[in-house]
């Protein structure tokens, strides 16, 4: 039998240097072929079969378009998770192979996908099911996988078929832009390869889909579905791929961060599939929206505020030196000692863009209510100079607010990320005062970046409030030991509803 080796040296890219590859052979089985673009190593089957040829093309396409050294930068952006980007990249590579004339639709399968589908569904791994459906979308594997899913859960099968189909459609749409396979370096953001921005965008959508677990059908709906299933039984295995899902339960938030519950049905529930309302973000061209680089300036803070810096003494019945001896007569619990309780500190991040306003007095009130807190304000000031200012910290604050605010946003996410990384302790609260109009360094509001901020706030328990006055009230409440909840700005609520199909609460 002829042995056919791959020729990765023939491939050219604009984002990496060309060089020799280390090629070795393997069997045409899932898990064995692989490509490492950074170290230029490729393991691919050399068999003279149709399947081996398609696998070779798949690996070669990875070598052609998949990010190399710059991949960590895509992950660090935190727009989409690493796993989601990995599976969407599989989808992109398969679609590009199809476009290059390789029959992935008819051949790319190793026969184990049906079992995978059964296993994933039996273990109720919705997240894994969505990722697998996306990774196999547009190939022969997808049909086999969905067959396995349907054997255990017809509802999931229908939804996943619909998701797979939409993912392929979305990728086709990206292909028509002519930039899907681009390996150029994005001049504006420095990200490469440019074609991967489509992957990131779609992966962000996949993350959203994977975070919403379909509810178990109720008895009534099971009966309804049972009828539906019977009616559709004659359609064959692949029939579900093009069908609209039957009546089913509302989506349930997977809730990776905990504590955040899903409010209601999405827009798409009217059509019978709540996932229909969850759509990928769109932006002009292939250039992805990008946050600016955070540059912090610590302002001079000569003004001392009232109170201490978050320490307070409270009565205790244990101690060494009695300082509240009068309590011996008045306090039934005889709390005559002092116990020092440290404040939890906290960070208040203020969006100081043109659409927001706050006064020096409000900052003073904040610091008085939370003396140990740090208050920072940010606004985009172009490519040079600081764009975030520390205006109060540890009981001190600025005499006057710097006359720099009122410009764009640009660094919303880096600012709250900084707050999370710099909070005094994991219990320290973070309040983010914003109207929700988050914008990248250039361009207007981006739903994708908005979702990134929302998810980050949920994950890290950041309290989001639309006005500085509310932040002052919140700090007062917290001072008195009360809990404070986010009051999401309208823009975030709207984005979340559009993107997740449910209310943000």
């Amino acid at each position: 039998m002829n042995s056919i080796v791959v020729e990765p040296e023939l491939l050219g890219r604009r984002d990496t240097d060309h060089g020799r590859w280390d090629v070795s052979e393997c069997n045409p089985r899932r898990g064995e072929p692989r490509t490492n673009i950074v170290s230029r190593e490729m393991v691919a089957p050399t068999h003279d079969t149709v399947l081996a040829r398609v696998i070779r093309a798949h690996e070669m396409m990875h070598a052609k378009v998949t990010p190399a050294h710059s991949y960590p930068r895509w992950v660090e952006r935190q727009i989409a998770t690493n796993k989601a980007m990995t599976v969407v990249e599989e989808l992109r590579v398969n679609l590009l192979c199809q476009k290059a004339g390789f029959d992935v639709k008819g051949n790319l399968t190793d026969g184990g996908e049906t079992a995978d589908g059964e296993r994933i569904t039996a273990t109720k791994d919705w997240h894994g099911a969505v990722l697998m459906a996306i990774a196999t979308a547009g190939t022969a594997s997808n049909k086999a996988f969905l067959t396995g899913v349907r054997r255990h859960n017809r509802e999931w099968g229908i939804i996943l078929a619909d998701i797979s189909k939409r993912a392929v459609k979305e990728m086709e749409k990206a292909y028509r832009t002519g930039t899907l396979a681009s390996t150029e370096v994005d001049r504006r953001t420095g990200l490469a390869p440019l074609g991967f921005s489509h992957v990131e965008r779609i992966a962000e959508w996949v993350d959203r889909l994977a975070s919403i677990v379909p509810e178990e059908p109720t008895e009534t709906s099971t009966e309804t579905n049972g009828t539906g299933a019977g009616a559709g039984a004659g359609d064959g295995e692949g029939a579900g791929e093009s069908q609209a899902p039957r009546k089913r339960g509302r989506p349930k938030k997977h809730n990776p961060a905990g504590g955040h519950s899903n409010g209601g049905t999405g827009d798409g529930s009217a059509t019978g599939n709540p996932y229909k309302g969850i759509t990928p973000d769109q932006y002009n061209g292939a250039s992805p929206p990008q946050w600016g680089e955070l540059r912090i300036e610590r302002c001079a803070m000569p003004k001392h505020t009232k109170g201490n810096i978050g320490k307070k003494r409270i009565a205790s019945n244990m101690g060494r030196a009695p300082r509240r001896i009068h309590r011996l007569l008045t306090d039934p619990e005889k709390r005559i000692f002092d116990k020092v309780s440290r404040g939890t500190g906290g960070i208040v991040v203020i969006d100081a863009s043109g659409s927001m306003s706050f006064t020096h007095d409000q900052i003073r009130q904040m610091v008085e209510n939370a003396p140990g807190a740090t208050v920072v304000a940010y606004t985009d000031r172009g490519n040079t100079g600081p764009n975030m200012w520390v205006i109060a910290d540890k009981g001190k604050m600025v005499n006057e607010l710097p006359d720099v605010f009122g410009h764009g946003n640009g660094v919303d996410f880096p600012a709250i990320e900084w707050a999370v990384k710099n909070r005094q302790s994991s219990r320290s609260p973070i309040i983010w005062v914003t109207d929700g109009g988050v914008c990248p360094t250039s361009g207007g509001y981006s739903d994708m970046l908005g979702m990134q901020c929302i998810n980050y706030c949920i994950k890290n328990n950041i309290i989001v409030l639309p006005y500085v006055t509310e932040a002052v009230d919140a700090l007062k409440k917290m001072k008195n030991g009360n809990k404070v909840k986010s009051r999401w700005p309208y823009q975030f609520k709207s984005t979340y509803k559009n993107k997740m199909g449910v209310e943000l609460s």
């Binding site: 040296e9 093309a57 052609k64 390789f102 396979a181």
Partner: protein, 243 residues
Amino acid sequence: MTTNQTTTTLPECWQAFEDCLNAGIDRIVLYGPSGIGKTYAGLNMGNVEGGAYRLVCTEDMTNADVTGAFMPNERGTFTWNYGSAVKAWEGNGIVGGRLIVDEVDKASGDVFATLLAMLDSPESATWENPENGRIHRPKNGFSAIMTTNVENMEELPTALADRFPIRIRINAPHPTALLALSPDLRNYAVRMADAGERRISLRAFMAFDKIRKAYGDEKAARLTFGQRAESILDAIAIDKVSA
């Protein structure tokens, strides 16, 4: 980053060669994969006003090719025919020419010793013509370019290495040579020129180019690349997904 430079800018290796010639370096070793244009460059690049003379070294080669030999003439006697090295020394009679020594690693010990003498510095290099006893010295402007496919320059004999302090690895075909190829194949020829064990020479691409014009890609690939035809055509199809 190297993708489109062949038609626009000079690759780094060729630029280095050109810079050395411009700086007046007259002893250069060009090494690297075969079929990439080293000899062509040696014969044509820089100032070759005094003429360029080529020596292709083989095990069977004798000193006659280097310095010269008596050969029978029409009068029934013998006349001395100069070898390439002496011709290059003399150049056009005013300035010295250039000697291009191909595959120097393949020269026999005898020839190698003669070459060392001929390639010595101008002050030490002399040769006496056995026909008339005239002493020859390299004329001003004499230069020597040595080419070899040996990748490890440490393998060069010390005496030779000492005479050729500048060694440039040529890993890309010269843009001028690429012009003979159809535009869509030029980048592939550049990438495969230094692809190690899977390298494909510029000449192979030229042959492929010619055949495909008459018989199409598949037949041309089969005839030129043999068993590798399918994978090469597949790779080209994949590469074409993005410009």
